[in-house]
């Protein structure tokens, strides 16, 4: 595919279009204005992943904005995927931020509904939810392809000035493990219909259920319309595995994985081994275009994991 048929021209898009098995990572902005943390985390991920999600007040805890942190990460050689949730901003604020992000050179945006504020550090706040993640995808596609705002106005400063639309690569999340299970693939189809270019899934431990979901994806032919990146979060301990199983809605951690961690001399090492095996299994699953590695506050470990999975060096 030539440069002018690309939707955004981002590295992530080029990697996927070229048919390479993509690797994305995640970088949580600091809970302060500390730039050094971003520089350090960016250092761990540079050259290791094709693009990095910059989270947007994840788990409803205030952090540096995803656009600001994304720009800083980009200055350090990473390609950011800016996460935008519907929890904190209405359609005016989101569109303004999308224009701003694009003007700053950011090319990938991931659309999320957002964790409810009751889970974070400002539970007494008011949420917005002017729209949901699927409507957000549609709004970004409208801005990029139809060159109009959500209200229908053209994206130009005045009638005499040119249309300058934000040409972004549009991402969305999918949780193959939430309920009702049968609705999960319908929801994915709606995201594809709305205009999602790529999907990153919730982290996968229950490989059987993931494959079941992928089968449904195949039956609907969705894998041919959207790039699917499977979510991986390396487990660090038995406690973490049990926490994920018991406290994250819609996430299952099978007993055999917990057993392996329990019996391991070094559970952290075992967690990495499990993740490498998962990546290999995912690579063999038809219709999956890459992995999305969410190493929560463990960005340092990503390089080793990607290397052991045989995914280095990354295409440039």
């Amino acid at each position: 595919m030539s440069e002018d048929t690309l939707k955004s021209g981002s590295r992530l898009e080029r990697t996927l279009v070229a048919g390479e098995f993509a690797v994305t990572g995640e970088l949580g902005p600091p809970k302060s204005a500390d730039v050094e943390i971003i520089e350090r985390k960016a250092g761990y991920l540079k050259g290791v992943v094709d693009a990095v999600n910059i989270t947007d007040n994840q788990t409803a805890i205030v952090r540096m904005s995803s656009i600001a942190a994304g720009l800083l990460a980009m200055k350090h050689g990473l390609e950011p995927v800016i996460q935008i949730t519907c929890r904190d901003r209405n359609r005016l604020a989101i569109q303004a931020d999308v224009l701003g992000a694009y003007a700053l050179g950011l090319r990938n945006i991931l659309c999320l509904s957002g964790d409810h504020q009751c889970f974070g550090n400002h539970p007494t706040s008011k949420n917005v939810f002017d729209m949901d993640s699927i409507q957000l995808i549609g709004m970004l596609k409208g801005m990029r392809d139809d060159k109009v705002f959500a209200c229908g106005d053209e994206i130009r400063n005045t009638k005499k000035q040119p249309v300058v639309e934000p040409r972004v690569f549009i991402g969305a999340a999918a949780n193959p493990f939430g309920d009702p299970f049968a609705f999960r693939v319908i929801r994915l189809a709606k995201k594809v219909n709305a205009g999602a270019d790529f999907i990153q899934t919730q982290c996968i431990y229950d490989m059987d259920r993931f494959k079941q979901w992928m089968e449904q994806v195949h039956n609907k032919g969705l894998h041919e319309q959207v790039y699917i990146l499977a979510g991986i979060t390396p487990l660090k301990s038995v406690r973490m595995a049990e926490y994920m199983r018991d406290n994250v809605a819609g996430l299952t951690v099978p007993d055999h994985i917990i057993e392996r961690l329990k019996n391991a001399e070094d559970p952290k090492e075992e967690g990495q081994k499990i993740a490498v095996e998962q990546i290999q299994e995912i690579r063999e699953t038809p219709g999956v275009s890459g992995v999305h590695i969410m190493a929560i506050e463990a960005e340092k470990t990503v390089a080793g994991l990607v290397e052991k999975a045989g995914l280095l060096p990354r295409p440039q």
Partner: protein, 224 residues
């Protein structure tokens, strides 16, 4: 109905003791049904205030009065006006509408709310009321099997459940909140209309909701 619940007693009493003669006004409609501010609740709260006043040595007298509806002019009769005139202040056991309507009728009196108004809801079992409507001004429940995602999904999602739906429950409070989308899915499945849930719902027009500013409904055909 409008569902409300009584404020903590100390909060009410702290306001009551600022005055010598209190008129405690109940309402005979929604808050009677949800057992928050009807004649019976007026009687109980009045007794509690009197008892507390005696124990704490405060000089408060409490009159009780309940009218059919605090949100309708026709029920504010002469007897009500007389009782209000004799009181130093009012405590309304009506919903937020009733409190304000009383304030509009009796501009010279200070008025305190005794209830926290919660939502438009239904009695789901004796002693349990649950939210059903958010008053968005443009009813769309037919598209969702008769279950409103605006009022009943914690994120008001129009295109399906978020990742926080587990075993039919919402992660915001699995003990008390059903996942609205689980309910929608089950209803639409029963109706044989699951295919309709595959349609992408466009952005909602919130101008009919509170976002269009405080709302008024005018019916020219019934105006006097």
């Amino acid at each position: 109905m409008i569902v409300a619940e009584q404020k903590p007693f100390d909060e009410i009493y702290e306001r009551a003791k600022r005055h010598k003669k209190i008129l405690l006004m109940g309402c005979g409609t929604c808050v009677t049904v949800c057992m928050a501010g009807g004649e019976k609740e007026v009687e109980i709260l009045a007794s509690q205030i009197r008892l507390a006043a005696r124990e704490r040595g405060d000089d408060i007298t409490v009159e009780e009065h309940t009218i059919t509806r605090q949100c309708d002019d026709e029920f504010f009769d002469e007897a009500t006006a007389r009782k209000v005139a004799e009181a130093d202040a009012l405590i309304s056991m009506g919903c937020g509408v009733g409190v304000q309507f009383c304030a509009e009728r009796f501009a010279e009196k200070t008025i305190y709310p005794a209830l926290n108004t919660k939502f438009y809801g239904a009695t789901v079992e004796q002693g349990v009321w649950s939210e059903r409507c958010a008053g968005c001004g443009e009813c769309i429940v037919d598209q969702f099997g008769g279950v409103c995602p605006i009022a009943r999904c914690s994120k008001s999602l129009l295109n399906g459940p978020c990742g926080g739906s587990s075993d039919g429950k919402c992660e915001v409070d699995p003990e008390h909140i059903d996942c609205a989308w689980q309910l929608i899915y089950e209803r639409m499945e029963k109706l044989g209309r699951l295919d309709e849930l595959e349609e992408n719902k466009p952005l909602k027009d919130w101008t009919h909701h509170r976002d269009g500013g405080p709302r008024t409904v005018t019916r020219e055909d019934v105006k006097l």
